[in-house]
Amino acid sequence: MSYLYSKKTLVILGFVILLIMPFVLAPFNLNLLGRFLAYAILALGIGVLWGYAGILSLGHGIFFGFGAYAMAMYLTLQSGGMPDFMGWNGITELPWFWAIFSNPIVAIVLAIAVPMLFAGILGFFTFRNRITGVYFTILTQALVIVVTTLIISQQQYTGGTNGITGFDTIFGYSLNSVTTQQMIYWTTVIFLGLVFLICYKLVNSRFGKVLIAIRDGENRTRFLGYNTSIYQVIVYSFSAGVAGLAGMLFVLQVGIITPSMMGIVPSIEMVLWVAIGGRGTLIGPVIGALLTNGASTWFSQTYPDAWLFFIGLVFVLVVVFMPKGIMGIISTIQARRRAKKYGKDRKEEAKLYNSSSI
């Protein structure tokens, strides 16, 4: 029981470290860390969906993108009215689906609600028709193609491949000033903490156990009297909402969103962060997102020509030989140490009880 106490302490400690980072890091690095943290929020959503409910979505890029676009549309409207691209695409009047984003509250709500609703509707039909596993995964890829192609081809409304950029203020403050960036960073950290807490409550409730049950035996769960498809819809929708939130925070720190950030490849990479960190845990996705993006920044700075080799190799090695990712290695080491301490006969037992829930 005592370690449970210290586990929480350490998570809180990590959270506090993140909170004081603005006093430690240079603005550029802070901004970098901030966007990694936005990715970490996204990874948490995917982590719950994949690690606990066993649903692998390769289409989270679009939910992330929805959130990012919603925020970018709001920022554009309040920075300078109608976006430039509409002008030279012959649109003279702001279309209604842009106009509603001029209200910040509406924009923020929609950034989360639209992905949730979209995922909810798609999930409702898909899961009710018992499309799961590989089929669901491939279906989400088709979805990515549909959405990105649509966004690109509706250039007059979406900015096409150039996406939306060029906004520089938020609530009247310069988006690029150090103070604003610090505020945004703290907002991101706080939302990360909040999402973490919600996910923690979720997976440790009976709801979480039912999700694991669905992951390990969907049919069996159905024969226990659960309408599993509703559970899948809910968790898919939740995860999409988290992705929307992450997208919103991301665009505040990056200042641009384009369709290529929502495509097939980024969507797969998001899942790989979770795989590297460790699926079936909550700390895993956070660490995975931070570590992978940190490493890729560092590596491609140092060895721009060779980093694809490296990252490809890491993906392969982690998935093949460390299916539980970094967190898996940690718990293996831990089990081994425990075995050493208590003698060999406890070794097996040590393995049995490593059901970590964070």
Binding site: Y3, L4, S6, K7, L10, L13, G14, I17, M21, L25, A26, P27, F28, N29, N31, L32, L33, D84, F85, W88, N89, G90, T149, I152, S153, Q155, G159, G160, T161, N162, G163, T165, G166, D168, N176, V254, G255, I256, T258, S260, M261, I287, L290, L291, G294, T297, W298, S300, Q301, T302, Y303, P304, W307, L308, I326, I330, S331, I333, Q334, R337
Partner: protein
């Protein structure tokens, strides 16, 4: 027990933080160990980690996609910038200092471009950034250079409608490539146009311009088609071409799709005798990927060809081949990437400092004898005066110039001097 586990977790987060800070340290040690730097300098390679920046050198950023889909085009452009930097350094550098290139990979990903741009400006404190190719990546870098008052030199022709005080546009504006090409086609080939482009911003904007211009000239657009990125099946488009029988196909497809389109056009038995295709994104490098035999007799509109007949170009082509291999070819964006370094260097000499505002002021009116002929920076919009050239593809994959504008054309990114373009402005 569990502490061990969390220790690792903390360790890894520390790793991330240090990764974030890695750039910082690199810059710091650079300044701190100035004296030790000279030895290393002699055997320094392209590796940015070994770059040593001291009072005798000026750091510049090279920001291109070296990985991902855009690496196809952008690596050659980076090579050209490196060539120019080496040449200038050999001639004694700028302000008597050596130019030190810091190479960053944009990875064909816009957030990475903006991130690397801020790294170059904030940590490496570069005097200028040479780079980006797609409009999306340029626009990702734009707010960053504006915020930090940096300079971006952009080497590619683009759709216009932009002029940032922190960007120098060295590629053609629409009025230096598209508008004269349409005029030439209308006068020499025919008046019915089939507009074909990839589904992104440049083709769509270009086609709006062409539409407006043809309306004014009395020409006709028989059909406008866009294909998604990476599209490889042009049978349906070719059917439309057969159905509409245009005189001209104005082609704004991007690199990859051109291969599929021209191959399939040739397979369908449609040759340059049946319909003239004029491309604005097909340069020498792309011809090698498409195959000269299917392109022979079709046209392109650029400001420069490898065959452009100037003494500067002879030197440029032979230097480029010497540096990177006999089999390499030059081309318009490569040439623009090359001369823009010289323009910057000259502006810095003029200003006597690398400070952005001073360089910007000094840059106005700077001229240079580029491989494509004389170029001049237009202080009003920071684009470049360039000669427009229309070339015909030959069997050896090179262009033969069939027309040129005679003198450098003043850049007009917003097409303000054209009455018919009012709706687009």
């Amino acid at each position: 027990m569990k502490k061990y586990k969390w220790g690792i977790a903390l360790f890894s987060s520390a790793f991330i933080l240090s990764a974030c800070a890695a750039g910082d340290e690199a810059a710091d040690t650079g300044f701190g160990e100035a004296s030790a730097g000279e030895d290393e300098q002699s055997d320094s390679e392209e590796n940015s980690e070994e770059v040593v920046v001291d009072e005798d050198s000026i750091p510049v950023g090279l920001l291109h996609s070296l990985s991902g889909t855009m690496a196809i085009s952008e690596t050659s452009v980076r090579d050209a910038v490196m060539l120019a930097i080496d040449e200038i350094n050999e001639d004694g550098g700028v302000l008597g200092k050596e130019i030190v290139p810091i190479v960053e990979d944009g990875a064909s990903d816009e957030p990475v471009f903006s991130e690397r741009a801020s790294k170059l400006l904030q940590q490496d404190d570069v005097a200028a950034i040479f780079g980006t190719w797609t409009s999306a990546s340029r626009q990702a870098v734009l707010p960053v250079v504006e915020e930090h008052n940096g300079l971006l030199f952009y080497p590619v022709q683009y759709e216009g409608m932009e002029s940032s005080p922190n960007i120098f546009y060295n590629g053609a504006a629409p009025n230096q490539q598209i508008v004269p090409a349409v005029e030439w086609l209308f006068d020499n080939v025919g008046d019915s146009f089939f507009l074909l482009g990839s589904d992104y911003v440049f083709p769509r904007t270009a086609n709006q311009i062409i539409q407006a211009q043809l309306d004014d000239l009395g020409g006709e657009v028989v059909r406008e088609e866009y294909t998604p990125m990476g599209h490889t099946d042009y049978n349906t488009i070719i059917s439309h071409i057969r159905d509409t029988e245009p005189d001209v196909i104005f082609n704004t497809l991007n690199g990859d799709s051109n291969v599929a389109f021209f191959n399939q056009l040739a397979d369908a038995g449609i040759t340059s005798d049946d319909v003239t295709v004029l491309s604005v994104s097909v340069a020498e490098e792309e011809i090698r990927g498409i195959g000269a035999e299917v392109l022979e007799g079709h046209y392109a509109s650029w400001n420069y060809y490898q065959t452009t007949d100037t003494p500067e170009n002879d030197t440029f082509v032979s230097n480029f081949k010497e540096a990177y291999g006999e089999d390499r070819v030059t081309g318009d964006p490569i040439e623009a990437a090359y001369f823009m370094v010289y323009l910057w260097a000259q502006a810095v000499e003029e200003a006597g400092t690398t400070e952005t505002d001073a360089v910007r002021e000094a840059a106005s009116g700077i001229t240079f004898d580029a491989p494509n002929g004389p170029v001049e920076i237009d202080g009003d919009n920071q684009h470049v005066y360039k000669t427009v050239r229309i070339g015909e593809v030959q069997g050896d994959g090179q262009f033969e110039e069939v027309w040129n504008s005679g003198e450098p054309v003043k850049p007009d990114p917003y097409l303000e001097t054209y009455d018919w373009a009012e709706a687009i402005q």
